[in-house]
Symmetry: C2
Subunit: 277 residues, 2 copies
């Protein structure tokens, strides 16, 4: 999917909601456990109930890998289902990959070609040649960690780093700036946690046009209106993720309706913000 197509979907749906598919078998309605592929069936129910309210789905690979081969099959079925039934949806493999060049190429092949995701999340620690293999894929998007929503973000990401000209700035800003010099950097998006809304102003100075994938609204305590106030650009430029707040809204038979209600609340809030801009 092109960035332009994603922007169009945001305008059509008046939504920039991404729903995270982090399926824990201990947290889904128990009747699913009797089915052959509970993870896929649960995802399918959530997707069918919310696809008109969300512009993106983000399966978290850890929650599939934890169930071994069966989990990987569930991942494959989930992405195939979205691609076939809802091709207008932007898909994100939340995988946090990154390794030396030939290994990153294999990860890119796995997620962009074999599974056919539109995008993947990657970690920046190994630098340029660990990310550029992902950027080489046309109409695919690489969503690099910049400033994450967890407490550990303050261990390294916000440390002051000395630049070549003697000035000091936070590591995540250096990561953002440096990444703009990489080949095909127009295929980059960034992860920026909602729990740090006050940072968005500074981030927008460095990457005014890029899409930002924003976890941490809801369960992790971030505020949608705060993030939009400081992070939105002319094309919206945000994908706000919610996982647990939507998919685990109920553990009863009405889980899909409850998920839809939670997604609808967010979509309506987003529509109001978009209209006010």
């Amino acid at each position: 999917m092109t960035t332009q197509q994603l922007i169009e979907q945001i305008q059509i749906k008046k939504s920039f909601l991404c729903i995270g598919l982090d399926v824990d078998l201990n947290k889904i309605p128990s009747h699913f456990l009797a089915l052959e592929d509970p993870i896929f069936e649960f995802n399918k129910a959530i997707i069918d109930a919310t696809h008109d309210l969300a512009v993106a789905y983000k399966p978290n690979t850890a929650f599939f890998e934890a169930y071994g081969i069966k989990g990987w099959m569930s991942l494959q079925k989930t992405i195939s289902y979205i691609n076939e039934k809802y091709p207008e949806i932007f898909t994100i493999a939340d995988a946090k990959r990154g390794d030396i060049g030939n290994t990153s190429s294999m990860y890119a092949k796995a997620f962009f070609e074999d599974l056919n995701f539109d995008s993947i999340t990657v970690a920046p620690y190994m630098g340029k040649d660990s990310v550029e293999p992902f950027l080489a894929f046309e109409d695919k998007h690489t969503i690099m960690l910049a400033l994450t929503s967890n407490e550990g973000a303050f261990d390294f990401q916000t440390l002051q780093v000395n630049g070549t000209k003697g000035e000091a700035k936070e590591l995540y800003k250096t990561v953002l700036e440096t990444s703009k010099t990489w080949k095909n950097s127009e295929n980059l998006m960034y992860v920026v946690g909602a729990t740090k809304a006050e940072y968005f102003t500074e981030i927008r100075k460095i990457v005014p046009d890029s899409f930002l994938l924003v976890p941490g609204v809801g369960a992790q305590g971030g505020s949608l209106s705060e993030v939009c106030k400081y992070g939105m650009n002319a094309n919206v430029g945000l994908l706000i993720n919610s996982s647990r707040g939507i998919i685990y809204a109920s553990k009863e038979a009405d889980f899909a309706q409850k998920a839809r209600i939670e997604a609808l609340k967010m979509q309506q809030e987003m529509a109001a913000i978009m209209q006010a801009e």
Copy 2:
């Protein structure tokens, strides 16, 4: 496996060789392609030919994921084969994982419980709460990226970072120092690339007792003797990885014998270094 058991194996085998299993179907002898599971069969042949010369095997998850469900099955068969036939071998899932706490817990479950690896490589960018879930597993080891062997290592890892006391030091040193304060940090090992042998002296000042997993000898140009000179400690404390130099020593029918010859060369060099210490 405990660290003590790993040290004993190093003494018994007079080897600290780790063989990386990065299987690319384009690079293995063509007769494998007719088999039902070429990746596993190739790995099995390599392992059977080299298990007495190596103390560790390191499957690189990217090279399995690139082949989808079949690849994940090959990974499961490979680790099961090692665990059953050669339980004295230390196994490393080269996966470079790392995410927020509940997600890292799922990755730990996938690799430590479901697949039963002894260790996994992780990325540090997301900090303490992204790594501690791995450290919580007894007799399992978490091998964190410190200073990698690729060119991109110089993008961020070697940047000067300001400490709380005003002193500046490279990011990878800060990563090493900070990680020592984490819960169960005795379960940490570190990735340090062989292409940067002169850095080992400084690294050993920070983590004198930890095992270091060292990629980059051979194909990437690092020198074994240089790394040992600066990086060895009283328990050896090194796992030197070679992937392509061993497993792709030949593409002909003699590939396993040629792999053994290359592994033997390295083991003999290691035995000589251990004796000279």
